[in-house]
């Protein structure tokens, strides 16, 4: 008995938790017969941990295997993106937006371009709008496919689903490379259009990739959807209730998995999304399985959009003739532009004072805001579940830390 140190104070004062209001839960518990006093264990998961999708740290307080408290710690990848945006020309921030969510550089480009177009009143030509939709939906396909793979990787399905997803992603990245010159850091969209026109044969290659993608999806679903291990690990785990999701301004597939019908492509109809017919998949339970399924179904809807866009894309110019590369000075004013990025609502807020640099440049990153309810999702679950809950949020640390 005396070998076990008296920990009745340590769990609270030692960890400095008494002021958080949850302190009373954190006191060590005595078992019914009173002879064993378990101590709370604080584990620092990350920042270099393969499950944290980048340099992200979680201070997890554990009672046995159960999580009683979780504190996310981030900022390891902070690059001062927003402040740099205020100190460079408008165009010079465009390549930096690639590095926000480096999986989806084309949607990041679009969100920023959309904001500045609002600010400067530029008109995007028809063909450029179609190119934007095509590239954005391809981005969504590869992001969701990889997220499925990563989620399974976190669950212990070492490699296989991820490899299949990466094989498909590679085809899409090849398309991006032949269009923009880079696989990930595309830097392709410009204020008022796109940087260059589609190279010869690009549309045919894209059509082929789009036609072959359903086969991958069928395989992926056959591999995973009814897998008992996947179901028992994910169903009922990491539930986000509807109200919490709305109150915490969660967006993207996470919100829709909770059953809220909110897709900015439908709500705002930015670009030319009003021309395409597609549905918004919704979940019911808000657990990890629903988040996974919503993404799989979203890929099918993206394919529908792609088929329509590839059919209808017109010829024509790709950039507004009023747009200028050098000496671009929008009139004073402010604009907030947002799009449905694969991870959620990606918004840019830009204030112009009429000079060459923005006066204020602010990013609303979906990964960061979706991460704020991580503790609510994890409490009461086991530490192995924390890893997959985090995986199902779909974060990219480039965007969380900016």
């Amino acid at each position: 008995m005396s070998a076990i140190p008296d920990t009745s104070e340590r769990g609270v004062a030692g960890a400095g938790l008494s002021s958080t209001g949850r302190g009373h839960e954190l006191r060590h518990k005595e078992t019914a017969n009173g002879d064993f006093a378990g101590d709370l264990l604080e584990v620092s998961m990350g920042p270099q941990h393969p499950s944290t999708h980048g340099v992200f740290r979680m201070d997890v307080t554990l009672d046995g295997e159960r999580v009683v408290r979780l504190k996310p710690v981030f900022g390891y990848l902070h690059r001062n993106h927003e402040k740099i945006g205020e100190n460079t020309a408008y165009l010079a921030s465009m390549p930096y937006t690639d590095r926000l969510d480096y999986f989806c550089s084309l949607t990041n480009n679009w969100a920023y371009a959309l904001t500045v177009e609002k600010l400067a009143g530029l008109q995007v030509p028809e063909r450029a709008e179609y190119i934007r939709v095509i590239t954005a939906e391809l981005t969504r396909l590869q992001n969701h496919a990889c997220l499925g793979g990563f989620l399974l990787q976190d669950m212990g399905a070492s490699g296989t689903p991820l490899m299949y997803a990466f094989r498909e992603r590679e085809r899409i990245l090849d398309l991006f490379e032949s269009l923009t010159g880079a696989r990930m850091m595309c830097n392709y969209m410009r204020f008022g259009g796109c940087r260059c026109d589609l190279p010869a044969g690009w549309l045919e290659q894209t059509r082929q990739v789009v036609d072959e993608f359903p086969r991958f999806l069928d395989e992926f679903e056959a591999l995973l959807n009814e897998n008992e291990i996947l179901m028992s690990r994910t169903q009922g785990v990491g539930v986000v209730p509807r109200e919490l999701a709305i109150n915490a301004s969660i967006t993207g597939p996470m919100l829709r998995a909770a059953g809220v019908n909110y897709d900015i492509r439908k709500v705002d109809k930015y670009g030319i999304y009003d021309r395409f017919s597609f549905r918004v998949p919704l979940g019911e339970h808000g657990d990890i399985y629903d988040r996974y399924m919503v993404r799989v179904l979203e890929m099918r809807e993206s394919l529908k959009i792609l088929n329509q866009a590839l059919r209808d894309i017109p010829e024509g110019p790709i950039v507004d003739p009023k747009a200028r590369l050098r000496g671009f000075k929008p009139k004073p004013g402010e604009a907030y532009g947002r799009i449905e990025a694969p991870k959620g609502e990606l918004g840019f807020y830009v204030i112009s004072d009429g000079s060459t640099n923005p006066y204020r440049y602010r990013v609303r990153p979906p990964s960061f805001i979706n991460l704020t309810i991580l503790e609510d999702m994890c409490l009461g679950h086991e530490v192995a579940d924390v890893v997959i809950i985090l995986g199902s949020v779909d974060i990219v640390l480039g965007e969380v830390d900016r």
Partner: protein, 192 residues
């Protein structure tokens, strides 16, 4: 039945595994460096300076206008103007760069310098095996390392280079057409 889903999934992996022996599209690995994928025409890595003709120093198209230096987002270009001028492709006297350095350890391959350059002087290279043992010195490329011939440019980006050549040829033809009457008028003094 419990386990049915897992067996179905195993069937998929088996299909992929055996498929990789018979079908090209299931086997996507490339054994670098023995095998290499073909370069995409639009591929870009780090910028280089284009020169015309044989002598790289004389043929450099850059006129040291320093626009790229100003617009480069991470500010990795460093230019010092030379006091002497040299003729450009249409025979106009232009400044030249005494120092033109690009720190490719900072460069983020964004291509903005290429887009803003009004003289088609800086283009994107496709070279990617650039590792060195020295982090600082060898990644700071000087003018002589950056200079590459127009033939090289035509080789790596044929479509783009053909457009540039056509544009510059047209400019040259226009300048010559303008120079001829000007030469003719200056040859016959108009003073009575």
């Amino acid at each position: 039945m419990l386990g049915e889903g897992i067996i179905k999934g195993m069937g998929e992996t088996a299909r992929n595994f055996f498929g990789s022996y018979v079908k090209e599209d299931r086997l996507t690995t490339v054994q670098y460096p023995e095998e290499r994928l073909p370069q995409k025409e639009a591929a870009r890595n780090f910028p280089f300076l284009v020169y015309d003709g044989k002598d790289w120093d004389k043929g450099l198209r850059c006129v040291a206008c320093q626009i790229c230096e100003k617009e480069c987002p991470p500010q990795c270009i460093y230019i010092v103007k030379d006091a002497t001028k040299k003729p450009d492709h249409i025979g106009k006297m232009q400044f030249q760069a005494k120092v033109f350095d690009i720190d490719i350890s900072v460069c983020m391959s964004c291509q903005i310098c290429v887009e803003v350059c009004p003289f088609e002087a800086i283009k994107m290279d496709v070279e990617y095996e650039l590792s060195t043992g020295d982090r600082f010195g060898q990644l700071l490329l000087h003018k002589d390392q950056l200079a590459k011939s127009n033939d090289y440019y035509r080789k790596i980006h044929p479509t783009e280079a053909a457009e540039v050549d056509a544009r510059m040829g047209a400019e040259k033809a226009k300048a010559e057409a303008k120079a001829k009457p000007a030469a003719a008028t200056s040859a016959t003094p108009s003073k009575p």
